[in-house]
Subunit: 346 residues, 2 copies
């Protein structure tokens, strides 16, 4: 046992990218930024760091089949969560499963965009190195704008060159606060990337999240009861349950053209080019007096006249038309559909 | 021979209602205002005036099959134009075919909306009566707004009570002129409805449109050459070729909640109700911060967020999204598609 492993967390629902992202085939399984799915891009950029056999996918029962289809070479490396819970139980279970085989593990999102892959790989290797010192290591992203849709990490004192102790976590700030953070240079975006020894992670659970820790112990003692035990797991994020309470926690700032593609507007901003009036993905588009629009389609023709800053998402059974500044509200539509019992559209 | 007949002109392409209206299945074949197709509504309102057996449909080869499907009871009353020409050859050929069987014939559009059917029927009967006096009779519509997308008819002196001689025809005016027309009370919208004896119509062709008249004579002499002769017909409207030149021409003003549904905005205006934020036809719609929109769909879900005054037309192979004040520009998209050879979308 002397290796670094990676667990890609692929259980998210990505409802803000509805109607492309669906319960059974969410965001990470779609080609949003190039011809490959988000999760395929994620795997591709991680293989050079730890090798294919050390890459695992944590996902839930709803999505496991689609993921195995998308990543057939990794189908034996899928860790299935029997119920949809949050990142704390996911990382706990992952640490438990890795404890015999991996010295350090990185838990990474499956559906983020990273423009500068080389730089990201360099930072990740650094994180593996620092994690050896019994630290929970985060990778933070240097903010490029005052984003109010992301959590922030405040950097404390240097632990070593380019590695900082975490002073505190801050939830999604208001615009004024986000602008202050950006200006200060002391805050990073929290990209949800955690690197540590599995043993160290389990110790953190033991100290800060007794309930989950007990469940993990029970799973270890009687693996055949996984389903029953996992169902009782607290639905809580790793940030809340562990990271915010941990003492030996460090962050490495990264600068690698990152986006969580948290909603359609972010995708538009990421894909739009100055030399193009509109951003067209996956379909034919004819526009008259149309500018600043994202047209994200499939095999149908999309025609637009007299539109500005509008996002059109065309899927086989739903079409969404949304002003880009209202992209956050996509969730509301998904909530309405849930309330109305329109399962087929979720 | 002592009857009134009607020829419904159903050869139009309705390109401004693209993508619902297509070359092989244009506007008149769609349910736009209620559950029946426009042409079915047209037939229904004419049966009480002349009886089913006296109703004929003039159309071209592209659409004949779909029309026979839509109106099976009239499939033996379809007059097929072998080539797509304009209304002058259509009305000429219709008059020729009716000359032995009908005393007077009304040539009427297939795809207009008429809200007050009783009033329309009354005016049409009046028109048949006046046509007996060897007049070309038009039905004009009292304007309700300064529409710049329609032709106008200026009324001259009274021929009898509520029947006027036509002073002149005016093509689509600019807004200022249209406002003047509306205020004057002397102008009517030209709804393209012509009533006359077939013999009188042929005399008008003889006098004002020698080319078409000669072709009609040739068709009469050798009906088997119809195709070859019709191909040579001038592509000109009856308004230009005949009506603007005729001397014995009268107009009867009508006030029956008429619309040519000339574009999507007009359909929106016609269907919108004060008690509803948006106008939804044929599909499910969930809207957040959406108002003044027309959503005209099929079996897919349409979701909208942060939209105002937008028209969405969802069809199986095309989705159109258009600001309502740009509804006239739909033609431009159709032209682009023609230029690009995208026949399947026409």
């Amino acid at each position: 046992m002397n290796s670094n492993s990676i667990v890609i967390m692929a259980g998210g629902a990505g409802t803000r990218l509805w109607p492309k992202s669906r319960l059974k085939k969410p965001k990470q399984l779609y080609a949003l930024v190039n011809n490959d799915s988000m999760i395929r891009n994620t795997v591709n950029r991680l293989i050079p760091v730890v090798g294919e056999k050390n890459i695992f996918i944590a996902t839930n029962v709803n999505q496991a089949q689609e993921i195995a289809k998308e990543l057939p070479e990794l189908k034996n490396n899928i860790l299935i969560e029997p119920f949809v819970r949050n990142t704390a139980p996911c990382i706990g279970l992952g640490a438990l499963k890795m404890i015999e085989t991996a010295e350090t593990v990185a838990f990474l999102p499956s559906d983020h965009y990273i423009g500068n892959v080389k730089e990201f790989q360099k930072v990740l290797k650094e994180a593996f190195r620092v994690a050896q010192k019994d630290y929970l290591v985060l990778i933070g992203i240097r903010p490029t704008d005052p984003d109010t849709g992301l959590g922030y990490i405040e950097m404390g004192n240097n632990l070593e060159k380019d590695v900082y102790k975490v002073r505190r976590f801050v939830e999604k700030p208001d615009l004024k606060t986000a602008q202050k953070y950006l200006k200060s240079g002391k805050f990073l975006w929290n990209g949800g990337m955690f690197i540590a020894k599995p043993k160290f992670i389990l110790e953190l659970f033991k100290k800060h999240s007794r309930g989950i820790y007990k469940n993990l112990e029970n799973i270890k003692d009687s693996p055949k009861n996984l389903n029953k035990i996992y169902e009782k797991m607290e639905n809580i994020s790793f940030d809340y349950a562990i990271a915010e309470k941990a003492e030996k926690i460090a962050v490495i700032p990264g600068d690698f053209a990152w986006s969580d593609i948290g909603n359609w507007k972010k995708l538009l901003e990421m894909l739009s080019r100055k030399d193009q009036e509109n951003t067209i993905v996956g379909c034919e588009h004819y526009g008259v007096e149309t500018s600043g629009c994202l047209i994200h389609g499939t095999d149908r023709l999309v025609a637009t006249i007299g539109l500005k800053d509008i996002i059109v998402v065309d899927t086989p059974d739903v079409v969404l038309i949304c002003h880009k500044d209202k992209a956050q509200e996509v969730r509301k539509v998904v909530e309405i559909l849930k309330l109305k019992g329109q399962e087929k559209y979720l």
